[in-house]
Symmetry: C2
Subunit: 195 residues, 2 copies
């Protein structure tokens, strides 16, 4: 048997949770809805997952894998480091636009107070930043490893902020084309030659 019954049920619950977050958002996720959707009893959720936090982290794990794949796809088609960085930023925006609730869950979720995010999940987040270290080091070959890591985090955070606040529509609902143009302009401006 390739999958035990236990694993099948765990996957059903994970699928149901993912669908709920995708369609209704993280805050609409309910243990009772998920288990009803998965066709099992309420308590079975706690056999499959330690608690709701770990269930959400598992959904986020899937999302991060898809996001990471999208970014790798996007950057694979580029040669010059500046084009790679611009393409990565636009791919990041596109993923967030097309998966708004799943993407938001990556950054909106908070663990119960006092419980740290597991290391394996932090490392899954770190691969996003790792993706931009390559082209960044090509642009600044003289940077040492630590500075490069900080710089990559900074650039990622800036792009992330632009995508996040525009998708939240916190200030005003924005036209997607305008956002894409603004992000593109911003990255180009940051990377432009000072010759």
């Amino acid at each position: 048997m390739s999958e035990s019954k236990r694993e099948i049920l765990k996957k059903k619950i994970l699928d149901a949770a993912e669908k709920c977050i995708e369609t209704q958002g993280l805050t609409a996720l309910r243990a009772r809805d998920v288990t009803k959707d998965a066709g099992c009893a309420l308590g079975s959720l706690y056999n499959a997952f330690e608690d709701m936090d770990l269930l959400i982290l598992s959904v986020n794990s899937r999302t991060l894998a898809r996001l990471h794949a999208s970014l790798k796809d996007a950057s694979a088609s580029q040669e010059a480091p500046k084009e790679t960085l611009l393409t990565l930023a636009l791919a990041y925006l596109e993923f967030g636009t097309e998966n708004p609730n799943l993407w938001a869950a990556l950054f909106d979720h908070r663990m119960q107070p006092g419980v740290p995010v597991p290391r394996w999940h932090l490392e899954e987040h770190a691969v996003l930043i790792a993706e931009i270290i390559g082209p960044l080091s090509q642009l600044s070959p003289n940077l040492d490893e630590d500075t490069l890591a900080s710089r990559a985090r900074t650039v990622f955070s800036a792009v992330h902020g632009i995508v996040k606040l525009s998708l939240e529509g916190r200030f005003v609902a924005l036209d997607p084309n305008t956002v894409r143009a603004e992000l593109s302009e911003f990255v180009s401006q940051y990377l432009r030659e000072a010759d």
Copy 2:
């Protein structure tokens, strides 16, 4: 009487809520704790405020006023638009660093599903962006009003993203000096002359 009893109680509840968010964070805010701290019954909270959302919005309103004042103070001491923008970014970082929980509440809070954020509160957020429109228009006098507004939102979002992800320590706990240096470097790079 300068303040009715009603207004005094409302202020007491607001103070208690602010103190709770400041010391323990938004997610630790409880109606029962707040009213006990304010010295009134649980139900009185709902005489003073429509619900918890509006109470949180009122706390955020205070925080935004303080943040806005900090930004105006910071930019008042500058003449050149680039220095103004850099100073604003660093002042924003400083405010977030010194008021982590209150500042996080500004962006972490979500209304109940289906309930929109009141217009008066959206406008309180907008003043942050308005603060950078001035120096930005000095740098790009040829931009029309709409583009300038989008550009201001973009620049704000980028700086915000850098501050937010570093204060959350999502990827790794960061040295404050490193963050300040990175933010400063980033803004300078974005604004540097292309002569």
